[in-house]
Structure formats: C-alpha cells, structure tokens
Symmetry: C6
C-alpha cells in the first residue's frame, strides 16, 4: 500500500509511513490548536518533492492564510506557488437569495455537493494535485440542516473526493465546550482517518497534542503525542 508522508516530523513512524494514497482524512480540533499548520505541512512536504498540492479555503481569504503561513514557517511559499507546486483557492460560501432553495432537498445536493466537488475537481485536475486540503468543511456541514440529508450529502462529498484519487485532509472545527469530532457530528463516520489536535496538560504543562483517533488500513499509535511548532515545521516530541 502506497503511503504519503504527513510532513510532521516523527508522525509517519506512528502510522505505517503516512496517510495511504487516495485516503480522505479529517484533521479536527478546537480553534487555535494548529489545524491549518498541520494541513499546510502536509502540502509543503509534497511540494518540495515535486508533488503538486491544493489548499482550498472556505472561511478565510487565501491571502490572509498565506500571510499566516509565512509568519509561522521559514518556507518559500511564493516560490512553490509560482512553480505551481502549491495552489490556493478561496471557495466563497453560497448566499441563497431566498430561503426556499435551502428547503428544496434535491437542490441542496446539487448546489452544495456537486457544485463544490466540481470546483475542487477542476483545480485538482488543472494542477495535477496529488495532495488536497479543504479548510474547513464546517460551513458545508452547517449548510445542510436536515440530519438525514447532511448524512447523505457528506457521504457523497467524501465518495467524490475518493474518486479524484488525491490524498485529502479535511480541516474540521470543534466548539470550545464540545468533545465531539466535528461540528456537524457526521463527517467522522465517512473519512478514512482522523487526527485530533488538542491543548492538554503534559507533565504539569499545557502542550499542543495530537492523537490518531482512527486510521483505516493502518496499524497506528493510539497514544496522545505532544508536538511543537517550529520555524521549520511541526515536530512530535518524544517522551
């Protein structure tokens, strides 16, 4: 089974070498736990080896995200972008002009699932991306109110991503008071893997931590791993 390195120093050895090729994975955590850093590390790892990657943002302007990345890491993002090894796409949320659209179930799937996946497919094909990030899927989950339809819609989105045959990270938000794995409570059942990021007390100090909560086709660590963010990237701390 082909594996793609995660880009996080020390993590690949905890999961048989990385994410398996074509898998769809959820990177989830509360605000400020490092989800975007994790996701961009995954793309950077590929880009410097010549594998093109796409970063789709749904909740932030691409420019602002790039500024955040540049201030965090000593990486030449602009060069990689120019070489088409790294692409950014801002997928603006749909604002329906009238409420009826939202209540028409057939159109929800069309608008939000086919439409979103079509846009993603187009950029993936255009850039020949091997790695894909969608940050975040929360706004897509929130768009579909009906519990049954949300389940169907998210299932179809994940299945379409699998067909694209890129290895994908989906960034998910968790609310401060919640111990769930996603805000919509559905996506975690459809993805192949789940990485959960937290702030936890480790040896009397608060540390950023990372847990592999689920990883299909993979014999993976089930421990909580503290990690640090350095200028050259994320690093699992050995303990």
């Amino acid at each position: 089974m082909e594996r793609l390195k995660t880009g996080v120093h020390g993590l690949d050895e905890k999961m048989e070498g990385g994410f398996f090729k074509g898998s769809v994975n959820l990177v989830t955590g509360r605000t400020g736990t490092g989800k975007s850093s994790f996701c961009v590390s995954f793309l950077y790892e590929g880009a410097i080896k010549g594998e093109p990657g796409v970063y789709v943002t749904t909740e932030e302007m691409a420019e602002n995200l790039k500024d955040n990345i540049k201030s965090m890491f000593n990486w030449d993002i602009d060069k990689l972008e120019k070489k088409k090894l790294l692409s950014f796409l801002y997928l603006e949320p749909i604002v329906p002009t009238d409420m009826k659209v939202i209540k028409d179930i057939g159109r929800i799937l069309k608008i939000y699932i086919y439409d979103v996946s079509e846009k993603i497919e187009r950029i993936v094909k255009k850039t020949k991306a091997k790695r894909l990030v969608i940050d975040s899927t929360t706004i897509i989950e929130m768009f579909i109110k009906d519990e049954y339809m949300r389940r169907v819609g998210i299932m179809k989105l994940v299945n379409k991503l699998r067909e694209l045959n890129v290895t994908t990270l989906l960034a998910g938000n968790i609310q401060e008071e919640s111990d769930a794995l996603s805000m919509g409570g559905v996506i975690e059942f459809f993805v192949d893997g789940i990485i959960k990021l937290e702030f936890l007390p480790v040896a009397e100090e608060f540390k950023r931590t990372l847990t592999i909560r689920k990883m299909r086709r993979t014999d993976h660590s089930i421990l909580i791993h503290p990690f640090e963010v350095t200028k050259s990237g994320l690093k699992i701390i050995k303990i």
Copy 2:
C-alpha cells in the same frame, strides 16, 4: 438451540457457542472501534465453511469496503466472492425530490422499510445467505424523524429480518460524546443481542474492548473483554 459461530476467536465460549440461529443483533460503537471488522469476521467464518453471507453497505461504496477488508486481513475475499459465498451490496440512500414525501407517514414505511427489506430479501434469497450484515442502520434511523414512527419502522424492519431466517448483524454508529447504544435511540430495544465496541483503558493502556450488552436466550458473559485485530482475524485477549 442452533448457534452460529461469531468468527471472533475466543468470543463463542462467552455466549453459549455464538449467535442463535435467526437472531438479529446490533454491533455498536463509536467511529473506528472495529464494527466493520467484527461484521466481516462473522461473514468470513461462515463463508469458509460454505455458508453464504451478504454484506449490505448503506454508507460506503462496496469497492472501498472491500479494499479496507483486504488491507486488514490475510483473507482471499475475491475468491469467496467468486464462489458466491460472500456478496456485497451497496444500498444507495434515497434522496426524495421533495420534502413532502418525508412528511407522509404511510409512504415513509413503504419507501424505507418495505423497500429496503425487499431489496435485502431479494439478495438473501438469490445468494441463499445464512448470514447477513447491514452496515449501518444509522441512515435508516435518521430518515424517520417522528419518534413514534421511527419506533414502528425499526420494529417492522427487525421483524422482517427475523422472518428471513438469516442470522443478522446490524452495525450502528454512536456519536463521540454519547453513551447511548445507537444514534436513533430505538433499535437497541428490538434486537436480540447487542455487542458494544469501545476504546477503554485496560491496565494503564488503551485497548479495543468488546462487551456483550444483551443476548436473549443466552447465558452470556457481562465482562468487558479486550480484543486485538490481527491479520488472521479478531481475537479476545485473555486476562
């Protein structure tokens, strides 16, 4: 009373030899706790002894599921499939073209219960299956919003499965923050048996565990049993 072996090494002796023939059982747990592994082990146990089995998926493409199984176990799934000892059926969720359908109670039962059970009946009869898995029933539970109708619908589904006279495992999902036995909160009252899978701390380590939460007509263990997933199948760990 005739018993069907579970296919999990060490489990049959904890429940008078296995599931009783024709029983309908729930295998439930949070995401990544091993429900699909458990269910496929049950079918594999029968298939290698010549008892045909059917795996109905409602939330995943059959191909993807087979890839997951192959990467997990050293089993020749393709050969068993060719011999018609193992069959896979993807039951696509219904997307009603308009919302009214969902509010028409009579049609809900028709669409979701009679229709689903008819499709299942057809493949069971065609393959002469003795063992059946439906993974998962969550989407069926979610389809019926009305608490009373959900109760009636699930009761009718379970009764129809009993009439088919195959021994059945239903895979159910539990949300991360919940201690319930199913997402819909109803199916657990109608099944004959419940196996609950968890991640629990055992002797200062997190282990996959299995508990027989209920098993009608059976004198069963009520302990929590740690188990491991090996290339040749699931194994209860003796402690």
Copy 3:
C-alpha cells in the same frame, strides 16, 4: 388487603406478600435488564395456581416472545396456553394514513386510549384473567407528543386498567443514558408501584439488581436487591 405473589423467589417478603390486588405497577429498566422475564414470572406464578393471565405485547410478535421465554425457563408454556391459563396478544401499533390524525387531540384519546383499553378489556374478560402484562407501554407514550395530552392519556389508561380489576404489570423502557423511570416521563406518577431493574456493581462484580422504587399501600424494602435468572425462575440473592 389481598396480595398476589410476584413469582420472583424472595421478593414477596420484601413487600408485604406481593402486589396488592387490582394494582397497576410499572416494571422499568434499560434494554436487557430482565423486564420480560420479570413479567412472565408474574403470570406463570398465577397460571400454575389456576389464575389465568394475559401477556399483551406491543413491540414484538407473540411467537418470538414465547420462543424467548421457552429458551430461558424450564416451563411448559404451551400446556398453560392450551389450558387457557396463559394467553398472548400482539397489539399492532397504529400507523395513521395521514399526519392530521395525530394532531386531532380528541381522536388521539379515542384511538390510542379507548381503543387500546377496549382490546385489552375484551381479552381480559374473555380469558377471565386475574393477571395482566402490557409489554411495553413505551410506544403508547411516544404516540402522544403533547406533554399535557400525554399526561391525560396515560392517566386515563391507568384508570381504565384499575377498573378492570386485574393486577397489572406495565413494562417500560429506559434509554441507556437516562436515569428516568420511563421514556415518556409521565407514567411513573400514575401507577401504584414501580420495580426498577438495573445492572449494577455488587461486591466488585456486575449483577442484575431490582429495587422497589414505590409501592402504594405497602411497607416495602428500599434496598437494592441483586437477583439471578435460573431455569426455574428469578431469585433474589440474599446478602
């Protein structure tokens, strides 16, 4: 005051000799805690002494229930049934053809309360039953959505049962995460007695337990009593 023995070995002495004649009692617990076993023991106790009893099921086919009982106890259920000392009635849930019915308050009472009690009255009179079980009342509670009307409906049902002058056990379901006494949160206020069944740790082991939570006109134990299910019936364990 006339008392009817419970049929559970060791329980009568904890409650002045048994249920008082004509009382309506709730036997409640989570799934798999032994409610049906308790209820059938009560009927069996009467039947072998020549007191006819009726077991009304609302959520399970009568045949399946009988199979469960036979596999559990060394009792000749068929003979008692032939002698008309034990009768089984499956009360199929109503599926209204349209939703409006449910919103018409007057008809709710008619359909669900008068109708259900009429059917029960008929079989009680026909069999001259002295003991009655309704397993379960949950589906009746769920049918009535309006909190006020549920209260009125359940009150009327319990009052009608009292008029029949049979001693009655109502089996109630409790959801896994709940500490309530019933799913509808109402019936416990109208019954004369409540027996709560649980799985609880007793001396470092999990045991089935039984608590008399309420028993009008009775000086009763308020302790938690572990019990066991043997081939000859239920037995309170002395500690």
Copy 4:
C-alpha cells in the same frame, strides 16, 4: 400571626407553629416520596379538631386516593367525610376538542385558571373549608405551554387561592432526573412556602426526608429532617 398545625409530628416546632393562616404552600418531591401522605395529614389534623378540609385531586379518582389513605393510616376517613369535615373532589382534566383552544391565550386563562379556581371556590365555600389540598398542580402547569402565559396563569391561580383565605397545600411532581422544585419551573416563585420531600441517605441508610425550602413570614429550620410514616401519621425523627 395565626398558625395552622401541619399534622406532621415534630414539624410545627421547626416553623414557628405551622403554616401561617391563608398561606399557599407547595409540597414537592419525586414520585413515591410521600406528598399525598403529607397533604392528607394536614387535612386530618384540622378535621379531628372540627376544621373542615377539602382534598382536590386532578390526577387520580377520589375513590382510589381514599383507598390509599385507608391502607396507610388507622384513621376513620369515612366518618370525617360523613361529618363533612373532610371532602374529596376529582377535578377532571379538560380535553379540548380542537387544538386551537390551546393557542388562544385569552381562553387559556379563562378555561384553566378562572374555571379551576371557580370550582375550587365553590367547594371551599360550600364546605366552609379552612384547609385545602390540590394534588397535583402539575397538569395545570403542563396545560399552558407558553412560558410567559404559564407564569401569568400560575400567578393568578395562587392569588385567587390567597383571596379564598383557606390555608392551602399544592402537591407538585418532580421528575426522577430533575433537581427542580416543580415540573413547570414557575409555581415555586409564587407560593409562600415550599416543603421538599426526598429519599436521601441518612447514616448509611436511605430515609424519607423533608426540608423546609422556603417559608415566608417564618423563622424556619433549614436542615434536612428524616421522617417516618406510621399507622398514626407522619413523624419527624430526632437525630
């Protein structure tokens, strides 16, 4: 300030001699904690001294209640009833023929508050009652769905009871999982006093207990008092 003895042995000395004349008090607790016993003791205390009392039931037939009382206490209820010192009234709950009535706010007040209080006023005047029990007010609270209107309605009911100038006990139900003071969450703010009945562990045993949660115009105990139910009445246990 004139005080009416509670009828519970040992309680009057904990609250300046009893309930103050004309006060409206809530006796609240989960099912089976002794609310009806407490309420009837209050009426009995008056009746044997020649003060007429009325027991209004809203959720139980008066006959059934009387049977419960007779089985509990060695009191000659029938004689007191014949002497018109004790009266029982079953106030049947209203079942509106259509749902609209419930949504018409003006009529809610009319039906449920004026109507109920008129019936109560009539029997109070007819019997010249000095003591009144309404068991329970829960069904009245449940009838009014709108939080604001429930507040207004209950306030008006309590004010009308105060005008009658009888000393009143209202019995309230609390659900098993709740620590509230009433099911509707409103009535506790309008009454003059609150007696809370519970089952609590006292010296390693479960005991019935009683707490004076609030008592206007009264310097009262704030301790938890265990009590027992004897054939001659309720008794506070000294500790």
Copy 5:
C-alpha cells in the same frame, strides 16, 4: 461619586459606601434567598432619611408583599407609606387577547418596554422617588421570546431607567437547577451592579450568603458574605 447606602448592615463598607447614584443593579437568587428583603431594606434606608422610594411589584399583589415585610421586620411601613416616603405599585402583566401581538416586534417594544417604563416614570416623578425597586423583571424577560429582541428590549429598559436618575434595584429570579444570573440570560450584561443571594454551606452549616458579582465604578469585595435577617434588618456576619 455620590453613593446611596444599601440598607444592609455591613455591606456599604464592602463597596465604597453603597450603590452609586443613578445606577441600575440586579439583585438575583433562587426562590427564598431573600431578594425582596434586600430590596425593601434598600428603600427603608432611604425612607427613614427622607428619601422617597417606590416598590414596583410585577408578580405579587402589593398588599401581600406589605404583609410579608411587616411580619419580617419591626418597621412602621404604614407610617412611611402615609408620609409618601414609601410607595407600592402593582404592575399587572399584560395578557394579549391574541397571539399575533407577541409576534409583531415593533409592538413588543411599544407594549412592554415603553409602556412599562412610562408607568414607572410616572410614579417616580409623582413621588419624587430617589430609590426604585422592580420586583421582578423575570416576567418582562419571559414576554420577549426572540433572543435578539429580548436583548434590545432589556437594553432599552435599563437605559430608560438610567435616564430617570433614580438608583434602582431589579429583583431577578433564578431557577433551582441553574447557575445563571437571570432567567432570561440577558439583563446581567446591561446593569451596573449584580448582588447574588444564595444558600451556601458556611463552616458546616447552611447560611444565607451574598456576593457582589459585579459593580461598575466601584472597588468591591469579591468574597462570599454570610448574612442574617433580623427584626431590625439584614446584617452581614463578620467571619
């Protein structure tokens, strides 16, 4: 900054001398924690020094409140009322004849905010009140269902009270199971100060306690202060 003494013995020294002039403060607590006693003490303190005060009740007849006060304290309320140093006003809750009114947002503000504040303004001006109590604001909060409109309405009410330039206490109710600061969850953000009353264990005994939860423009104690209610008024207990 001008300060008005609270009327509670020992409290002024904990908050720079009292409430600042013109401030709007919330006195909040569960039922029976002494909110009305606190509020009337504040008015009494002013009245005996010649500062007129008004007590607006929204949930109780003024006569009943006065009886409560008289039974609690050795104060000549009637004399102060005759001298126009103490006035009582019962503000009857509005019962809309039809539900539409409540859904018309513009009218909600008109009815409940302008109307209520106009009535209050009139009596404040007529009596030249320097101190004002509104007991309670809960019914006003409950009247406005929409979370946004409740926020706007309560904000406008508090702003109007500030314009009147009287020092105001608003009594708020908290439900038994809640740790909130008000039932509507909004008013606490708009007032200048919050006094929270509780029943808490102090040195192995339950005591009435008082905490200054917030007090703008004031350096205040943040401790929990036990207090007692004596015939001559409320007193902070030194510990």
Copy 6:
C-alpha cells in the same frame, strides 16, 4: 511584523510585543470580568502616543461608557476626545418593523453586515483610526438566527474589518454557565487572536485572570495570568 502595544502593563512581553498590525482579536469573558477596561486600555495606549482610536458601543450609550471609564482610571478622556485621538460611536441596534426582514437572508447580510461595516468604515476613515474597538459583537451574532448564515455573516464582517487595516478588538459576552468563547459560537473561528478574561482562584483567593487563548502569527504564553485594575491601568501580576 509590526506590533501594537496592548496597553496592559506586562502583557506585551507575553505575545511578541503586542497585537500584530491589522489583526482582528476577540476579548471575551463573563459579565464583570473587565472586557471594557481591557479594550479602552488598548485605545488609550495608542491615543497618548498620537494614534487615533475609535470605541464603537452597541449595547450601551457612549456617555455612560465614558462615565464608567472616568471613574475607573485617572485618564483625561475628554482631552483625548477633543484632540480627536479618542472617538466614541453608539451603534443603535436595528429594530425591524416586521419579522419578514429577518427571514430574508439576502437582506440580513445587507442590513447587518454591510450596513454595520459601512458605518464603522466611515468613522475609521474620518478619524484616521489605527485602533478600533467594537463592544460588543454579541448583538450582531444574535441577530442572525440561521447557523449557516451567522457563520457567513460573521466571516464577512471579520474580513471587512481586516480590509480596513486597523487593529481591532471585538468584545464578546459569555453567559455565566457557559465555557464557550462567545455567545454565538462562531466568531472565535474567524479572529486572529483571543484573550479570555475570567475570575479564577489563584493561591486561595479569587483574582481577575487573563489567558491568551489563540494568537496567530505569534509565539504566545499559554499560561493563566492574574491581573489587577489600578487607577493608571491594567497590570499583569507576576507570580
């Protein structure tokens, strides 16, 4: 990266010198935890160095806020205001004349997001402000009921604030019983930084504390810092 000093003594050294230029930050906490003090300190710090700042209030009259500030700090607010280094703007909440407006999604964005940001843009440009406070954003969050639209609206508001290129503090309210980061549960995901204010026990005493919960582009302290409010400003207490 250019940094703006926070105005809180001892805080800048915990976050690489202050807020980064152009960032949008959330200052959040329960009522009375010092959010307004924190926000005004940030503006004051700039104003005394000649950087104009604007304080937008949405829930309080500007005059009342200024009185609060003056009573808290020894600062010549009026002089700074006259010099146009400090400006105050009260943004009155919209009261739609009919409910339909709120349900028209397109108009929500127009009214609440474009309209609010236009007003803010105008004053920022007019005053050439470098620092901006919006106290609070809660009423904006509450205005948008739909979870999806709230997410879109808040995202657009934060993006527009970023375009203005002022460094911004948004004050957010948290309800007493909640551990969330905002009342609407959305804004925390879009801002660059989050400062959380609390009342916490520090060395057996309750203290005001401050935690940097998130700060993009910044290596920041993750400890809980007690602070005090003095006449000359807020000060982190060293421990």
